[in-house]
């Protein structure tokens, strides 16, 4: 499988060289059309980045993409590159978890991890549980995800399934959203009833309404008899049942325009190392179609997980046999490893370029779906071999329906990433002045 054609790549590389004179002209807010929904996408890749090969050069509006970001050249005017932010809450030393666990748990929540049972790699920290609060994607979904069939979708590419290392997304403290690593299961869940005949669908909905009403009643009755801890558990479950009921009444998707039922993915060992690129492409394609059909407006694509150890055996001519996380611990003097980690991040950027390209293929008003989408690219670490949380390699892509002024390279001096989380809310049209732990937040991020 080859998600990015050689031609696209060449075009991209050339674009980086020749596009500079046009950049100022291209710096603008995206072509917004309020007839189309805004979408928010989290794009996660793990184990840190190689900053010197990631950071652009130049000024805010007149910059040259780095080696790692070069594949994004066709979309340079759709980007905001954020250098110099710190995951301060994750970097704070007294709380549970190692640097990976904290980086992962705080990335979207902005709050410390809870106590738990995973020791991780920090010998002096308390063992970690899961994150202690709602993640920003879910806070946004609570506002903009109420009318679609799915409030949000969480797609994994060989993502883990347990502990703080595994999850990006939380509906509340200790309530992680599992990643679905199997494109066939995503297909079944998201698209199975697309195009089913109206009468059959109406019958199914009526049945589910009767059943879920009764189910919800029994949770309510039980909840009243429980002590506070068990009650919280049962009430949380009940709220997901209520939510499911609510979504039965959403109109669902109509095939037509850019929305079509995608082909059912073939059977595949989704956790086999070398199937990683194939699974990734399937998940990206399914997500783009879910967005085009307006089945959801909030989603995450999580590649691996924190401490992900996929072996990038497919990088041409490299013969890599070690895992991503294993290599990320090597010191800077191991130049071969730094080169491989750079190439891994280049590969990830190529996938992002493909994804942005697919979004840009879908016309919406005078622009494309990319203009109405905000993609937040994040990592749990800044640099793997020192486990740092500064400077974080954050990047935004897409116009957010006019909410974001793109084509910019912004630099900061250690500002807390919680401020960025506030701004993500605001850019998506959700009011907020603080997010996560207020001790690590001073308000919306400057310049955005």
């Amino acid at each position: 499988m080859k998600p990015i054609s050689r031609r696209t790549l060449l075009k991209g590389a050339a674009g980086a060289a020749i596009a500079l004179p046009f950049l100022n002209a291209m710096t603008r807010r995206g072509r917004a059309d309020s007839a189309f929904p805004k979408r928010f996408i989290v794009w996660f890749t793990p184990d840190g980045n190689i900053h010197e090969n990631w950071v652009p050069t130049g000024t805010t509006t007149n910059f040259t993409l780095s080696r790692i970001l070069a594949p994004l050249a066709p979309y340079q005017d759709k980007l905001v590159i954020l250098d110099g932010l710190t995951d301060q809450v994750g970097n704070y030393g007294q709380e549970p978890g190692d640097d990976h666990q904290r980086g992962m748990g705080t990335m979207l929540t902005g709050v410390h991890l809870l106590d738990g049972t995973q020791q991780g790699g920090c010998t002096t920290c308390p063992a970690a549980g899961l994150a202690g609060g709602i993640s920003v994607d879910q806070a946004i979904a609570n506002a903009i995800g109420t009318t679609t069939k799915f409030k949000s979708l969480e797609l994994g590419v060989q993502a883990g399934s347990s502990g703080a290392w595994a999850y990006s997304n939380y509906t509340a403290a200790n309530s992680p959203l599992p990643l679905d690593n199997d494109p066939r299961s995503v297909f079944a869940r998201v698209f199975a009833d697309l195009g089913v005949d109206a009468a059959a669908l109406a019958r199914l909905r009526a049945e589910r309404k009767s059943v879920l009403d009764a189910v919800a009643d029994s949770y309510t009755a039980l909840s009243a008899r429980l002590g506070p801890d068990d009650k919280q558990k049962v009430d949380g479950h009940l709220s997901t049942i209520r939510d499911l009921e609510l979504r039965l009444t959403t109109p669902g998707a109509t095939v037509g325009g850019s929305c079509a039922k995608p082909p059912e993915p073939a059977m595949l060992d989704v956790m086999a190392n070398d199937n990683f690129p194939t699974v990734g492409k399937l998940q990206m394609d399914l997500l783009v179609m879910a967005l085009a059909c307006d089945l959801t407006r909030v989603a995450t694509i999580q590649w691996e997980n924190s401490v992900g150890d996929v072996r990038f055996t497919w990088l041409p001519g490299q013969n890599i046999t070690r895992g991503h996380h294993d290599m990320s611990h090597d010191g800077d003097d191991v130049t071969q490893t730094i080169e491989w980690l750079t190439q891994i991040n280049v590969w990830y950027t190529q996938q992002l370029a493909y994804f942005l390209g697919e979004l840009a293929k879908i016309p919406e008003g005078a622009g494309t779906m990319l203009d109405n989408t905000l993609v937040f690219c994040c990592n749990e670490l800044a640099r793997g071999n020192v486990h740092s949380h500064n400077p974080m390699p954050y990047l935004l892509a897409g116009g957010a329906g006019g909410g974001l002024k793109t084509g910019r390279f912004l630099t900061y001096n250690g500002d807390p990433h919680n401020n960025l989380l506030v701004s993500l809310m605001n850019v998506m049209g959700v009011q907020a002045t603080t997010f996560g732990d207020p001790n690590f937040c001073t308000g919306p991020l400057a310049q955005l």
Binding site: A172, P176, L177, E207, S210, A214, D229
Partner: protein
Amino acid sequence: MRRTRRSALGPLALLLLVGPGCLGQIGATKQETGACGGAPEVGATPLRRLTRFEYNQTVHDLLGDTTQPANAFPADEIRAGFDNNSAVVGVSPALTEAYLNAAESLAKNAMLTPANLLSCDPAKLSGAADEDACATQFIGSFGKRAYRRPLSDDDAARLLAVFHAGRTAQDFATGIRYVIETALQSPQFLYRVELALPPADGAGDLAPLDSYEMATRLSYLLWSSMPDDALFAAADADELKTPDQLRAQVMRMLADPRAHGAVAHFNQQWLKLDKMSSMEKDAKAYPSFNASIVPLMQQEVQQFLEEVMWGQKGDLHELLTAPYSFMNGQLATYYGVGGASGSDFVRVDLDPSRSAGFLTLGGVMAMLGKADQSAPVQRGRFVREQLLCGMMPSPPPNVPKLPPLSPDLTTRERLTQHDADPACHSCHRLMDPIGFGFEKFDGAGLFRTSESGQPIDDSGEIEDADVAGPFTGAAELGEKLSQSLFVQKCVVTSWFHYAYARLEAPEDQCTLKTLSQKFAASGYRFQDLIVALTETDAFRYRRVSGGAQ
């Protein structure tokens, strides 16, 4: 703030001479003071939800369904090594959807053969009264089995209303289908609700279980599934109260094949056997290994554990020293041992001087080996964590590179840096010297006597344990571990975590002490430990504070 580090070992912690901060422990036990046998004490007992494994077993026993629908659920969160921990982890929207889908497909399957469920023939029903009578009868009998106790009036009325909704929408069978779908998503099915009895006078916040709740505790501990007819009958007669009544049930249940599946599920998690299915080996390093060996190794390990858990001896010493295994012709040929031919697995006796029971099974050595070399660190870590219940941290940042594989260096020589560099040594001393004891088994589980042209040195040392000291070879290591108080205690603690689906609390010290005493008195027999797990305060009572009122 709080966050003091606490030891789960009680007085044994005094024996630990641990490098600063390297070795972690989970759970909390207060210093053992005072005698046990007084008023019962139990740690908090949060509400439990069926695991995927339990869900599959339960719908099999409830409906005869063999489709294992829970395999499509999001994975259970693993805490402290097990999938059933009851600490609060929220139900995700995806899981709620999965419950809905599973309930629909189970109900549809069940209604393919309504005669298995209904006391009436739907084709011969005449009129609403007839239908209601049959539906009511079904709700009472099916509902009791699904909710694992007789239905309350409210529960029965709710299910009858759902039946009427389905009957109105289409027909009688649809109404029954709605009832099944509703029951399978209700908290009384998905959760282990324990609310029947209040605390006795003077018992503080400790409440006993009624006979239905006790039947359910027994069936999920021993079978990972719902109670059978005999347990329901005992509960109906309220005959699950006295120690003798419970013991009689426990002995009956241990003799049922379902107990073997449940114990295997424990072992699968305790001994990290899931790793076996993802084993890949380098064809250049291990040319005789191929993918067809993996399922044979898995069967070997399963049959060995089956023998150790349920056979004549059935004890910890057997687990860690037994000089035999189970193989068919292909696997015996792979290992280069005689004693088996053909496709059936048979018991094969092995050289006792090479064997450490489970630990030196080829599949286990391969599972704990790297793709192209042995792995003393991983093997030592396994012993340290799974058998000694220590928690090792992940490697720190900026790890210096070890020398690469080379024809001139043995694995042991390549790891000398762990000994020389103090930063490495503080943790690796707890793993590598144990793992060196397995060096006569290569990364693919094959016995060897030399590496890189040099004879294998499989001498090692256990540090920071009651059996600390040097040893030579896996057999001596296994013998030492089998005599270790630390290992014995670790087995008890691991079973506690699994059986009660929670970590130990300070109030559980007498439960743990009783378990350890009974395990010791039995000669460390696993079946006796399982019986003992049903005789503790933790099993016989629930705490109402915070949890159910």
